[in-house]
């Protein structure tokens, strides 16, 4: 844990890894007292009572909305505790916590056995998230089969008319290789079919949504938590990609969201976990569009 006792009431959503900072795709936001007033959370005040310090989190981009919300509650309840979050993707999460650059590395999948051994990782699963194919809201396409999806993403189907849309080339967007969203989408939604090398590559869930929401001919995929009116989530084999369907197993493209520490979590990180396990924490996770799982 780094410096203690900062009195300023501020939440920093901090762009982390230098490389991605350069990309400017991780947005830096200073929230806190100025913009919106949050009622003080008694739960957070109780759990973080008497503690101080900073929890630095980096990695999977699906986690950012949850951490932002939690951080606002926590710093409002106890200004001596600050939580910062940076993106970078699951790969960055593993590497930066393993090298001691941050306190928590967030990952959009369980760490592999090799990763656990290399960095003595202690994973904490706090939520489930479905991953869904998305298109522009104006698209007439509503539902695709696994075969159709695989054909689109591997470049075998190149025109929307083959899927019942208006004639025109399909613009395929995918994520970088470090992305856990990508790995679960490839294995569960595409049945393991490789994505075409001609696909556009974007480095975060946010960038994916931004790209697809502005291009009527685009198709991509995001965590269900990122779906709103700007993009349309496609049903897979007739099953709607809702978190309810993901929970009861009918929608199969699901992954866990994890926080990882290298070694045992510190007292402050423990408190952070305990806060996420409260009903209030679960509400924050649901508000971000994920399914709370309440711990290990």
């Amino acid at each position: 844990m780094s410096s203690a006792g900062k009195v300023r009431i501020s939440l920093i959503v901090k762009a982390g890894m230098t490389v991605l900072l350069l990309s400017g795709l991780v947005v830096a936001v200073w929230a806190g007292g100025a913009s919106e007033r949050t009622p003080v959370s008694e739960e957070a005040a109780r759990i973080f009572d008497g503690q101080s310090g900073t929890i630095e989190i980096a990695g999977g981009t699906a986690h950012i909305p949850v951490v932002e919300r939690a951080a606002r509650q926590i710093t409002t309840a106890n200004p001596a505790v600050r939580v910062t979050v940076a993106g970078g993707g699951t790969g960055v999460g593993i590497e930066s916590v393993g090298r001691g650059q941050v306190d928590i590395g967030s990952t959009g999948r369980a760490p592999t056995q090799a990763e656990i051994e290399r960095y003595d990782l202690h994973p904490f699963r706090f939520a489930l998230d479905g991953v869904t194919a998305i298109v522009h809201p104006s698209s007439p396409v509503r539902d695709l089969s696994t075969q159709e999806l695989a054909a689109v993403f591997s470049g075998r189907i190149r025109d929307w008319s083959e899927l019942g849309g208006e004639a025109g080339s399909i613009h395929v967007f995918t994520r970088d290789e470090g992305s856990a969203t990508q790995s679960v989408f490839v294995s569960e939604a595409l049945g393991g079919t490789s994505i075409s090398a001609a696909a556009n590559v974007v480095p975060s869930n946010g960038a994916m949504k931004a790209a697809v929401s502005r291009d009527p001919a685009a198709i991509g995929y995001v965590g269900i938590g990122y779906v709103d009116s700007e993009v349309r989530a496609l049903s897979l084999e007739g099953v709607e990609p809702t978190q309810e369907n993901a929970v009861d197993g009918r929608y199969p493209v699901v992954r866990g969201l994890y926080f990882n520490t290298s070694g045992e979590p510190s007292a402050l990180v423990e408190s952070f976990y305990r806060y996420l396990e409260t009903e209030e924490g679960a509400e924050l996770i649901r508000a971000a569009g994920y399914i709370p799982t309440g711990g290990r």
């Binding site: 990309s23 400017g24 290789e177 470090g178 556009n200 790209a211 291009d215």
Partner: protein, 280 residues
């Protein structure tokens, strides 16, 4: 006192030189396992598919060269034109604010160019040229805007120098401003033009954020300039984020080494051309 200052300058100069050499040594040393383990062929192939053990970075090499080369092709004539306008062809009342604008442009963070281009340029090119709009062409146009001020200020600086030395002589010869530029300043500024080209190319090939945000980052060799491409720089940014253990990671050092060599070779080649022309 003078000796102290001289020593400080020497240390700074040697230090800066050593950083360059150290970078080259570091990149070579880390790329070396690729050579000893016989992976050079793997890296110099056109297929990037780390899951299948293919670490080809040829598409990224082509992407970098397309974007940097295309940007220089656009920005160099544009920059030269602006310099000619600034130095006597255009009216003075227009030259002054224009120079101020160009100087301001050198300080604009590249991410702003990229950010604005995502909203303005990408949709326009999508409609005109087809494809997703995230393409080599988009990136190339924005990088051209990025390097134009660098080119303008380098050439303009050289013109200003020549102006001090030659202005009175050209007036005595009765040359108009246009004649002065065409027959005196431009030929005399050859070194400045070459330096401008080198600096422009260097900035273009080294740019990361513009390519990362609007070039599309696809890992194939594109069939057209309106296709999505990945540059060596954005490739390093994207893969470094992923992991640090696999063969993919080591191919990054080769990508870094190639970037270094591109800038070095462009430098040497252009200086060679310059010295050759001067001696004839």
């Amino acid at each position: 006192m003078e000796r102290v200052v001289a020593t400080l300058y020497a240390v700074a100069g040697i230090g800066a030189g050593l950083v360059g050499v150290a970078l080259l040594v570091f990149l070579t040393a880390y790329s070396w396992p690729l050579v000893t383990q016989g992976h050079v062929g793997t890296v110099l192939s056109t297929t990037w598919n780390p899951n299948a053990g293919s670490f080809g970075i040829v598409p990224m090499i082509l992407g970098s060269l397309t974007i940097a080369g295309g940007a220089v092709l656009i920005a160099f004539p544009a920059g030269l034109g602006i310099c000619i306008f600034l130095n006597g062809v255009g009216p003075r009342w227009a030259a002054r604010p224009l120079r101020a604008v160009v100087e301001l442009m050198t300080g604009i963070p590249t991410v702003l160019y990229a950010f604005v281009a995502v909203f303005l340029l990408v949709p326009v090119l999508r409609n005109i040229a087809g494809g997703s709009g995230y393409s080599a062409l988009s990136a190339l146009l924005v990088v051209a805007v990025l390097i134009t001020p660098t080119i303008v200020l380098t050439i303009d600086g050289r013109f200003e120098q020549l102006h001090g030395q030659l202005y009175l002589a050209t007036v005595a010869l009765g040359l108009t401003p246009a004649q002065r530029l065409a027959w005196v300043y431009l030929p005399a500024a050859r070194n400045g033009l070459i330096a401008a080209m080198i600096l422009g190319f260097g900035r273009a090939v080294g740019d990361t954020v513009i390519a990362l945000m609007i070039a599309g980052n696809a890992t194939h060799v594109p069939s057209s300039i309106t296709g999505a491409v990945r540059t060596l720089t954005s490739h390093i940014a994207l893969v470094l984020a992923a992991d640090t253990q696999s063969g993919a990671y080591y191919s990054l050092f080769a990508a870094g080494l190639l970037l270094f060599l591109f800038v070095l070779l462009a430098n040497i080649a252009l200086r060679y051309i310059g010295s050759k022309e001067r001696s004839t």
